[in-house]
Symmetry: D3
Amino acid sequence: MARMLIAGPHPDDQELGMGGTIIRLASQGHHLLLLDVTNGEPTPLGTPETRRQEAADALGVLRDAAAKFAERNNTEPGSIVRVCLGLPNRYVEHTIENRHAIAGAIRAWQAEALFTPFFQDAHPDHLAVTRLVEDARFDAKLSKVSMPWPIDHWTGEPMPAPVIDGVGVDPKNPPTLYPKWLFYYYASHLRWVADPSFLIDITGLVDAKIDSINAYHTQFVLPEKNRKVVEWVKAAGTYLGSRIGTDAAEPFFTKEPLGLVSLAGVVGLA
Amino acid sequence: MARMLIAGPHPDDQELGMGGTIIRLASQGHHLLLLDVTNGEPTPLGTPETRRQEAADALGVLRDAAAKFAERNNTEPGSIVRVCLGLPNRYVEHTIENRHAIAGAIRAWQAEALFTPFFQDAHPDHLAVTRLVEDARFDAKLSKVSMPWPIDHWTGEPMPAPVIDGVGVDPKNPPTLYPKWLFYYYASHLRWVADPSFLIDITGLVDAKIDSINAYHTQFVLPEKNRKVVEWVKAAGTYLGSRIGTDAAEPFFTKEPLGLVSLAGVVGLA
Amino acid sequence: MARMLIAGPHPDDQELGMGGTIIRLASQGHHLLLLDVTNGEPTPLGTPETRRQEAADALGVLRDAAAKFAERNNTEPGSIVRVCLGLPNRYVEHTIENRHAIAGAIRAWQAEALFTPFFQDAHPDHLAVTRLVEDARFDAKLSKVSMPWPIDHWTGEPMPAPVIDGVGVDPKNPPTLYPKWLFYYYASHLRWVADPSFLIDITGLVDAKIDSINAYHTQFVLPEKNRKVVEWVKAAGTYLGSRIGTDAAEPFFTKEPLGLVSLAGVVGLA
Amino acid sequence: MARMLIAGPHPDDQELGMGGTIIRLASQGHHLLLLDVTNGEPTPLGTPETRRQEAADALGVLRDAAAKFAERNNTEPGSIVRVCLGLPNRYVEHTIENRHAIAGAIRAWQAEALFTPFFQDAHPDHLAVTRLVEDARFDAKLSKVSMPWPIDHWTGEPMPAPVIDGVGVDPKNPPTLYPKWLFYYYASHLRWVADPSFLIDITGLVDAKIDSINAYHTQFVLPEKNRKVVEWVKAAGTYLGSRIGTDAAEPFFTKEPLGLVSLAGVVGLA
Amino acid sequence: MARMLIAGPHPDDQELGMGGTIIRLASQGHHLLLLDVTNGEPTPLGTPETRRQEAADALGVLRDAAAKFAERNNTEPGSIVRVCLGLPNRYVEHTIENRHAIAGAIRAWQAEALFTPFFQDAHPDHLAVTRLVEDARFDAKLSKVSMPWPIDHWTGEPMPAPVIDGVGVDPKNPPTLYPKWLFYYYASHLRWVADPSFLIDITGLVDAKIDSINAYHTQFVLPEKNRKVVEWVKAAGTYLGSRIGTDAAEPFFTKEPLGLVSLAGVVGLA
Amino acid sequence: MARMLIAGPHPDDQELGMGGTIIRLASQGHHLLLLDVTNGEPTPLGTPETRRQEAADALGVLRDAAAKFAERNNTEPGSIVRVCLGLPNRYVEHTIENRHAIAGAIRAWQAEALFTPFFQDAHPDHLAVTRLVEDARFDAKLSKVSMPWPIDHWTGEPMPAPVIDGVGVDPKNPPTLYPKWLFYYYASHLRWVADPSFLIDITGLVDAKIDSINAYHTQFVLPEKNRKVVEWVKAAGTYLGSRIGTDAAEPFFTKEPLGLVSLAGVVGLA
């Protein structure tokens, strides 16, 4: 089972782009860190406090769904943790300091795979976060240089050190590592037509995904016009599912070719 | 475990393009039909008799390697069967009759996945075979029309009916089916630079692959200049392996997006 | 107002791929010929008779919807005509004779724009029809050679000669012409992810489109598993609509760059 | 009729890339803001004063041509306004401050569509401006944050507030908005071969376009070698016109799929 | 110096697509066979007799220009020969017999490089010829099978056997060979925007190229609307020349990556 | 013969990506500046002192090989010079100051062609250097502004002024110029599958290339796992050579179309 970091420029991006996949991967035993790069505020109807609560609620939805899906499939679910770096919403920049902040989170979580928004987007924060994650992947492996241990903006406390195979990661000196994979999920404000490298089947997980999105009450329930976004997310899932012969799916992109040791995970051949 | 059909315009194309993958998939329990569309003759140094023997020898190499690899990994290997349709080498054409001949093989084997050469090639037979396979995939599912049961050109006998879950396929009335996947492997005479959708790790299987190629003695051992082809195949494997962080790999292409139910088969996450 | 020919390999392909656009274009005054290349039979539950009736019913749905939409928008609707060439379903081939059959229809209708299925497809008939249309576009302009006037397979009668600006086309000697545009619509049996050159907004036309599809009762209502196709079509419409900021849209492809004399037709700028 | 903002890194980029389209769109009633991001100086033969005068002269050429073309087509022309932001030529950087400067212009003009140079270019200023415009499009819609009202570098005065439907925009509090479209025009110093999403017919407008370019006397008339650029622009127009069957055309790119409500603006179908 | 075969579906395609390059390559000492696959007739104003004469005239223009350009550059020009296969205009098909006809010409000329129209085209003959050339390239190398020696349709006589390094090719048994390169030139009836792999500088050769085109008097001088085609060809040359910094250029495409032993031929580095 | 600048983010990138081509181009008389943007340190086993020595050793290997290859081919070799800019390893940023530092080197060397790493990479320094080179190409041509003459970080001394056609470049006032070509070589830490615009044959130069890489003893000999990189480089060379029919090759990319004045440099036609 692998350790994965899913970067969201704002809380809710991860749910919108790959909420179903988060549930599936966690249900299969992977350990996931949802890294909120900003707290997402200000927005028209939100406040930092409501946003923090909503992010926590969404996390609860995802965890519950993962546990239930694992039970149904007789698998042992992995953990899902959420941490916010607290960079300034609407002002995220591609700087070395910010690269290192994310590299610190990669080391802290000992992430073997990274997920970040697709590199075509209309939102400046999304573009900046993705450039940061791309560079931080490399920074995380640099010898002879330390990266800052994440302080969780939601709590003001250092991110709890994960325990891996019974041993805690040392916040003072987490091992360097190079995440093997960098996958892009689609949460783009650009009206880009997804051209995915692969899709992940989320059959049976759509309702929970939508619940996790609607947990952001100030973003998708209160503002009437944003409810349409939720409809779009559902339709995209159904359409993309039809491309692999399942009820629903989420798209992913990778610049590096996907490497397989088997076709065991392929829809219809599993 | 799935049933797969691997079409080769000429015997040796399957080995050149995906010999390592054949071994790996068979070792994992999949059941493979190597469908030689022609007998590959005439060639400068071959005869139909030598080619038949070489195809059989290559099959033996693949089967032995699959059995050994399965043993090493504690898996139960699947079967590998070889059948030749006997279409005329150098004169393969894209006709409805030929489409149906291949559709007949798809039904006979009850193939859920197809492999055929990449659609950019300099060899007219390769281009024709791939067009035939693409169309035959659809023909195989047509209701109210029968397709010819394959006669094995190597033996002159009808292809033996496979037994699936203890029940033999009825040669007079094999069920219609639509193979879920059509994958392209690279065995191109065009000097195309592979741009794969995904790669399959063949670490530890390169020697057996090369042995299976060299089993075509009149094609790759006797003609000195063709020995270079074997070197190229090896180098391509190493280069492509480097693209997914393994010792060697083989490339594949799919026009339909790859659908996954897990990342279990992904290199480094398995 | 322009004259347009929409080729469907089988009746229902036009509705599936661009039913909403057919309604919109007709409502705006364009004159459309739905050219069924085959009668679509045999299928599991259909017969030539039911299919003929269903094609007529679908045509009725489209005509009614166009009339209503025109009324709502105070425009003068154009005509929609349906003719079947009666080539053999499942056996359509790319021959000069078949090219000329379609070139004859282009001349008969004096079509200035052609629509045909996207050139990536799993269905051999679709691929063949699209190659035929591509070539027939050129054949239609050839001087010194006549093309056959279409005989409508549904009625056994010659296609009625259209009257253009008060003058009837002469079936014995229809003028040659080269359709200015060849657009591809998506009705693919390949699980291709649409990568459109442009989208046409079908807001408000989805229900009528679905009705026109369901008019093919033996294809989409009786066979339970095909009802899913209708769901997919709806979801694709919603998803693609979200790409241009409308409730629904249909995708189109053009190999030749789209040429505009104004941005008057662009969503949001109109 | 829509309000459009056309960003030029230096005065003359808009004329070179889309001078004909500017005339056409204005003649059709759209209201255009030519936003010069820098004053274009220093250059070998120019001065800030000559450049200001040349930009004004070019504007005059465009306005006159739009008025004449409108008269010929019986349309009511829209306005063309020119404002210079005065960022430092050769030193334009992708900063939040510069993003906001452009976002301020978007709000001030209430621009519904943006045009900016294609994102592949050899000129650092072009690349920077396009990144700024891409991000500013999003910044312009942000609630709870004000953007600076543009000061026109040419006059040193605040940009005059436009009057829309009889109501003036309030410089102290212009409404937020998200421009529906971001189109890229080609004015690249990279010898890129244009791969346009669509072309706009500029038949009959080439002479006026060339006049507007030659109004930059210090850039295209005095320096003999730059006269070649004007020849290239003409040839590109003719070549691209041939791709849509018109005398001349200008190319445009869009990352978001073009959405149409009709084919009314399509060459040959209008 | 190399031997090259330039296939034209109809006489004039070679001149339109690469007339300047033909002159340049011949002037540099390469030996070129212009292979007219059909005689190009019927056309509205042509006859087989006029077309034969025009093809001969065009050849004369190319030869003279090559000789003059060679003299100017102090190089020894190679030969240019023209042969017509006489396949039926408007009815060229992709058959094995036609493949072999072209393979016969490849062997007869001992062609090391082939040029054929780009594979996207609206003219069925162009598409067919290019598929034939692609396949014939491979057929030409097949051992144990003879290909027909070309009969020149213009004269009714067998094509004269070329003399290579002082030895004549034996028409009864020309050596097999595999042309190292297959390049596509652009002479497309589709309004395709050229996306070339490389361009060849034709500075100083445009006038001669245009003369060679106008030698087809019944095609480009008599029919007034076709004179526009010549203007387009000129503009395309100027535009594409601007992409490599020369006065004019012609575009080429290759599916196989271009391999260089030096940058000696690169514009500006030579 | 041309003057070329080959930018390496760290010493060894040039050798890894295009060591064979460096030898070949120098052997043919071109004059090459290897510009190390950083000194490459820190690394796990290196020090600034060892890295300086290794860079010098690698340079010696390249020079010797170029001299020998020139002798074998009876050509007059050009010079190879190495200079380090000393920007901070791991902290290279895309700033105007850094752009100008590279523009200064372009002017100092009077470089007509630039080589820089491919623009898809996982290493932040590589991405930054390539953006700097892209912009510096343009900065180098700017009139009325001076760029800093390079100080060689390895020696602390100003880079020696080259002598061109017997005249030394004046460090106080080197001429402005715009390098005609910008080529990308592949030295990417991203597992990108090369998609080259063209390949350069390095047959017979692989051993010397590998020697030049192994001269970086602390990078590729001492660290056992990095020896694999050298194997990958060799395999990539063999694989890519097979794509142009040579023993080995190196890939290059260009955004601007390659312009040729002859096919003299093309493999097999030279």
